[in-house]
Amino acid sequence: MLKIKDLTFSYDKSQDVLKNVNIKIKKGEFVGIVGPNGCGKTTLVNILSRVLEQKKGNIRLNGEDLNTIPQNEIAKLIAVVPQESMFEFEFTAMEIVLMGRLPYLARFQLEGKRDRKIAERAMKKTQCWQFRDKYIKNLSGGEKQRVIVARALTQEPEYLLLDEPTSHLDMNFQYEILDLIAELNKTKGVTIISVFHDINLASKYCTRLLLMKDGRIIADGPPKTIINRKNMSKIYEFNIILKRHPKEGYKYILPDIVNTTNNQIIPILPTISQ
């Protein structure tokens, strides 16, 4: 269980980026975080992964204060898949995935048979085993992301934190990766907390949606409840058309054409976010 209480955060002293966030996430949930740019969703993820240091408020992970858990213990519990990764050196995909075993190895311990088996399984699951000996520098965006997810899996985490994991991928990969993550969530019970740029994707995959705006959580609940006109008007500037997927039943939104003299359409994001 992840309990976030009264979390407030600011980068500099002037403005709070997160204001009094209170969330309780139970094991096994697939939580999506959606909101306009600058609403604080990435900050929230960074605080959870301890990239940013939280000072005001209280976060408890499995009952313990996050700040007191040693870094490498956290790494065994929480794995992170960032939006994008740049690689400077010529590590192979396999070497990158093996780094996920870091928290489990003693300082001088080399990766053993078991570690390699775990890595292999993760890579086969994410379908990147075939380029395990290729340099990660030379892989495409989608292939790279699969390797990163494999690395996260190798950490054998209880919680998987993702920050817009598919915003740089084409549609094929988007669904592939998310299908994979959904399967992990169902079969292994890994708790997923993911920031989505595309609310429709979130609606399809998540069991629970958190809407954020201006550093606050303005709505919290299952997608079919949360995605309504009122909430959407709070986070989007255009009118929406609400639809339901004919086969799978999840709600999705489309932008409504604004009736102006020129009949301009305000394009919906998600395109490449900042």
Partner: protein
């Protein structure tokens, strides 16, 4: 690659490098401005190591044991220090063009040295210059790192990018002041200038005795933390998320790298390109995993500097043999490393395009 294969590959590489370094040391022990036959060199070594009580003529014994051997050992130590520090910096800054001097160690060291020189001349003339200079230089180098660290610290965290920029700014400042002080400093600037170009040509046993433990400690620390360096080299946030205590590891890595670099600079001046080129070459051969990269860079750095030093000390004889013209001066070892390093560096830049 299965684990057994990796272990084999690493062990073989290190073994080969160790053999190479020992051979290089032995060969270069026989090369010098005074011609001493190889058999005599061996006899001298055996005599000294096993206390045989032989005597040698023409001062050969002193030349081999008290001059050449410390010089070679120092070359190894400095080569080890600069290569490991360079590899560390490249990993920490995630930039293969970083080198050990990138956060101002060298200019701080030079600045410390010139201040030490002036102070020694005016106030401490009883203490010989060769004792004052290294200490002053070391203080300058470490002090600069400290300063860079303090200036880059924001809210308990230190950004490597900020350190880089602060380092550049401080380097420029110290360089300018050092240049000026060298210029107006009357008396002989020769020793300072030579030191600033990198000098391995007058090493005695006490230099080795002091540097050895310091550099050993630093390099061991770097090897211990090489796993953290792997994580750093793919990203600082990633490292954190993989369980590395980032701020603490960063401090330890930087301190160890700074220590070994400062010691090297204090005794031998600024020898460039070693810390840049060696890790680069080794990365191509053994890969970017720092657990093998650091030790193998260390060994290769030692080999490289042994030969560069031998070349620098015997340059004039080689020159005379090739051109028939008489020798003039001793070439500073920093010039030799630059002669090899600079074209290689340019080649690297072009390949990166």
């Amino acid at each position: 690659m299965p684990q057994a294969k990796v272990v084999l590959k690493w062990s073989t590489t290190l073994f080969v490098l160790v053999i190479a370094i020992v051979l290089s040391a032995i060969v270069c022990l026989t090369i010098g401005s005074v011609t001493i036959p190889a058999e005599v060199v061996f006899q001298i070594l055996i005599n000294r190591l096993f206390d045989q009580g032989m005597t040698f003529e023409h001062g050969y014994d002193v030349i081999v044991w008290d001059l050449r051997l410390p010089g070679i050992l120092m070359a190894i130590l400095v080569g080890v220090a600069l290569s490991t520090a360079g590899a560390t910096m490249q990993g920490l800054f995630r930039n293969p063009l970083a080198d050990p001097f990138v956060i101002g160690v060298s200019s701080g060291g030079a600045f410390g040295a010139i201040i030490g020189l002036i102070v020694q001349q005016r106030m401490l003339s009883s203490i010989p210059k060769e004792h004052v200079l290294p200490i002053a230089s070391f203080i300058g180098a470490i002090g600069t790192i400290f300063l860079v660290y303090l200036l880059s610290k924001k809210g308990g965290k230190v950004s490597v990018t900020t350190m880089l920029l602060v380092g550049i700014a401080l380097s420029s400042f110290f360089s300018a002041v050092t240049m000026f002080l060298t210029y107006i400093q009357v008396g002989d600037p020769r020793s300072v200038l030579f030191w600033m170009m990198g000098a391995l040509d007058n090493i005695r046993w006490y230099n080795v005795q002091i540097s050895f433990p310091l550099i050993l400690v630093g390099v061991v620390i770097l090897i211990i933390y090489s796993r953290d360096l792997n994580a750093f080299s793919v990203g600082e946030n990633t490292a954190k998320q993989l369980g590395v205590n980032v701020e603490r590891s960063k401090m330890i890595l930087l301190s160890a790298a700074a220590l070994v670099t400062a010691v090297a600079v204090a005794f031998t001046g600024i020898i460039g390109f070693v810390g840049l080129i060696i890790p680069h070459v080794m990365r191509k051969i053994v890969g970017p995993d720092h657990r093998i990269l650091i030790p193998s860079s260390a060994l290769f750095g030692g080999i490289f500097l042994i030969w560069a030093n031998t070349l620098s000390l015997n340059f004039s004889d080689i020159y005379e043999a090739l051109s028939g013209e008489p020798r003039l001066v001793i070439l500073p070892v920093g010039v030799v490393t630059a002669l090899f390093g600079a074209p290689f560096f340019l080649y690297l830049l072009m390949v990166r395009k």
